[in-house]
Amino acid sequence: MTGTLIRKEFREFLRDRRFLVLFALMLVLLSAASLDGWNRARSDAAARAHAAASDREIWVEQGENNPHGAAHFARYAFRPTPSLAAFDPGVFDFAGAAVWLEAHTQNPAALRRAEDAAIATPFPTLSAAWVIQVIGTLALTVLLFQAVAGERERGTLRALAATGLSAGRFVAGKTGAVLLVVGGLCILIFLSVLLPGAMSGDLDAGAMRIATLAGTYLCALTGFALIVVAISARSRSQSAAFVLAIGFWVSVSVILPVIGGQLAASLHPDIDEQELKNAIQLEAQSPFWSGDAREPAVAAYEAEVLEEFGAARFEDLGFDREALILQAHEEFANEVYDRLYGTLYARHEAQDRVLRYLAIASPVLALQRLSSGLAETDLTAQLRFTRQAEAHRRRIIEQLNRDMMMNAGESGYAYTADRTLWEQIPDFQAEPVSTLKILERYRIEILALLAWLLAGFTLAIHLSGRAMKQERL
């Protein structure tokens, strides 16, 4: 009986011209967005790989140079393009692509693709994820708002109730059809993610990650669809169901994400770029170079060196004192940077947290966040990159300073190193993160999605059952 109901519902979808039009529209938008996403991600990945290779070449080929001069010329750390950015760009375009690893200064990431935008539109440009999250949920709303209300208005619900059909079977029939529609959407997601990946070796996303992503969409879209069915069952008429369902879609898909961003920025205002630069100058540079912080910092680092080399006096080592001072400044400034950038990144994370808790109120926002998390195009992935880049900067600057300290002798800044040293400086390698780690970070969003799914099932069954009972009376 349930199977018959599912088939009947699905046949009705297929007969409905709106369904076919929406399906065709989704297919066109999804294909276009998917191909463009893949193309953009591939060219972006190629540009970054080329930049990283060029950076090494420029570095190694710089000729003879003083190590500290080289540390000022410095290197760049480029963030690799995550393969799933082709599917869901998340905040990737709003995050810097590279970090300059120069001496004395920790720099935030730079080169954000969103700075290049030549056009402003009310909504973002198409991506496969956005099409499913926003247009896909709109399509589900339009298709399902009359699921129960339509039966009731046409009088067929009474006929169904009269056959003795239980509420559970009725809902299972409706839900089964919904799941078939959602399943179709998820197959599209699979294809939009897998096909481009299969066509390009540069953008290979792990099978586990893709399966998790598709499961997330399946869960979120099913929950959303069931809520619309519940709204339909609760409404006395199709028009009331439509207004309520569209109101729900607008609130959770359009208004809440924008309000969330605004609320996040209002509650945790951004730090001004100039303000940060001033703080760096006043707290990390001036106190050391023209203030009284230099002496204790140099003494502390000198003690470390003496202990390391087992010497009583620095002069006994025959090392260069200027280089010791340079590294002492790094050690001093690093603590300041930990504090200043700690505050900056805490602010970014606080903004992110506002959206995390708002995601409880919106299955679409929860889906957006989890999707970009799995695609590694979220804030967490960006912060991971900037932290890894900074750790790398500290490592290579110390390596350069120590080379000068141990080898410059009396020459000081006139000492030069060559290719041998430049080749010893390691390239930046971003460390990958596991899918489980990502899921751990997004447990609130996962719980929110599961709660919406559960609420959708419960409400759909309960309200549909009530509607059938009312019809029997």
Partner: protein
């Protein structure tokens, strides 16, 4: 008669709690967006006013040092050097930027111009703003008007006739001498008037607070009025075309989704896909390659430069640090090497804008968005103009200080006086905005007339 209908409809329409709640939410969104916009505008002004003094050259002090040096007096070897001349290029917030600054945080508003800068480093901005909030964008009035106003108008008026027709009241109303056209107009005005008046008041308040020019305010009010009229016409067409409430509702939302969401996003997507921009990462790579090459061959490069400027070849001042010359030449070479990329970048951006300009007539949301941004003094086009003007000014400065810097000399007082300060020239508001507004007005009038004609048939 119309006045009677209007009064009655106002009472009837705004009595239900959900409708009042929707209107209250709309008003709250507008109030929030304007308050936040005004605060952002004031902050942007204060940031420009408070550029730290140590970042800029005190021109009068610098000139006094230069005059002393020219008079043969002893001054510091670092004083009045051409490389220490720094100019501020500032893009002041537009007159109504508070109302349409959704993506302004991404755009540069200042640049320090000096011999230490290349075009690459001129606008290098760091990721200091949180990417999450940036990605969501600010909730500005332009967004509320462009996206939320039509939805409010449609949701509150798509069933102005069909709800009576479906309930069987419409026939009775006609028998009693009622006219479908008058009812339609009265009900649409009852919805459109508050939907227009609330943002209009907000615009006037913001204009007063920010002392905005009357012309920009007028454009906003006119654009808002025409846009409201357009969506009221769409609502009227939906109301007279569909007998069933559900079908009308479906049509209304489909039209909104297509014109406000799908078409603008697809147009932007098409422009970006057809005219892709060169990558910023490639730009940086080219710059690094140029800098590396210059630094490796510095002596040879300086010789070539001096051969091109023979007047400065004599009497170099050995007290001038060598890195002045190295940095200057590296920056000149970076600019030369990346010029092709910059031209390609600007060319592609212009193509993207051109395509959107041509396709804007497909969607009133794009048309209004463009007009509001142009008159508010925001948007990527104005920002691109700023970048172009600042780059041109950098070229002027580099040309002026080049021979003296590489020749390890100072400028003459006369040469220094010839270097202008930066002043941003506002771009003209494009004519296409006016055409777009006229086109939208024509569509609104045509839609309303068509709806009225169909309404007459219902009588």
């Amino acid at each position: 008669m119309l006045r009677f209908h209007l009064a009655r409809e106002f009472n009837a329409l705004w009595r239900p709690a959900p409708r009042l709640a929707a209107l209250a939410l709309y008003a709250a969104l507008i109030a929030w967006s304007v308050a936040d916009g005004v605060s952002w505008h004031r902050h942007a002004e204060s940031v420009l006013a408070d550029v730290p003094a140590d970042l800029l050259t005190d021109r009068s002090e610098w000139m006094a040092d230069l005059e002393s040096a020219e008079a043969g007096e002893e001054i510091s070897p670092y004083a009045a050097r051409p490389m220490s001349l720094t100019f501020l290029a500032a893009l002041p917030p537009g007159p109504l930027a508070a109302l349409a600054g959704r993506n302004e945080a991404m755009q540069p508003h200042t640049a320090l111009i000096s011999g230490w800068r290349s075009e690459v480093s001129l606008f290098q901005r760091y990721e200091v703003e949180g990417p999450v909030a940036l990605g969501a964008g600010r909730l500005d009035l332009a967004f509320v008007v462009v996206a939320v106003l039509p939805l409010l108008v449609l949701l509150l008026s798509f069933d102005v006739l069909s709800r009576d027709r479906e309930a069987g009241r419409f026939r009775l109303f006609l028998i009693q001498g009622g006219r479908a056209g008058q009812t339609l107009i009265a009900r649409l005005i009852a919805v459109a008037l508050p939907a227009f008046a609330i943002p209009a008041i907000a615009i006037l308040v913001a204009a007063l607070l920010l002392d905005a020019p009357v012309a920009a305010t007028r454009v906003w009010i006119a654009g808002l009025a025409i846009y409201t009229a357009f969506w009221s016409a769409v609502a009227a067409l939906v109301a007279v075309s569909f007998r069933q409430v559900s079908t009308g509702a479906l049509a209304a939302v489909t039209v909104w989704a297509l014109l406000v969401v799908v078409v603008p996003s697809t147009v932007r997507f098409s422009a970006e896909a057809l005219y892709p921009l060169p990558s910023r990462v490639s730009y940086l790579t080219e710059a690094r390659l140029a800098e590396g090459a210059t630094r490796r061959n510095l002596a040879e490069r300086a010789e070539i430069f001096m051969a091109e400027h023979p007047d400065e070849a004599d009497a170099p001042d050995e007290a001038v640090p060598g890195f002045y010359r190295a940095s200057y030449l590296a920056n000149v070479d970076i600019n030369t090497r990346t010029r092709g990329l910059v031209d390609a970048f600007e060319g592609q951006q212009a193509q993207q804008r051109g395509l959107v300009g041509a396709l804007q007539f497909l969607s009133p949301a794009i048309m209004l968005n463009q007009v509001l941004q142009a008159s508010a003094g925001t948007g990527p086009a104005r920002s691109a103009d700023f970048r172009r003007q600042a780059r041109a000014h950098l070229d002027v400065v580099l040309d002026a200080i080049g021979p003296a810097t590489v020749g390890r000399n100072r400028l003459t007082v006369e040469e220094a006086r010839r270097i202008p300060e930066f002043a941003f020239t506002e771009p003209a508001i494009p004519l296409s905005g006016l055409i777009a507004m006229i086109w939208m007005l024509v569509l609104a009038a045509g839609g309303t007339l068509l709806a009225l004609r169909r309404a007459q048939r219902l009588n």
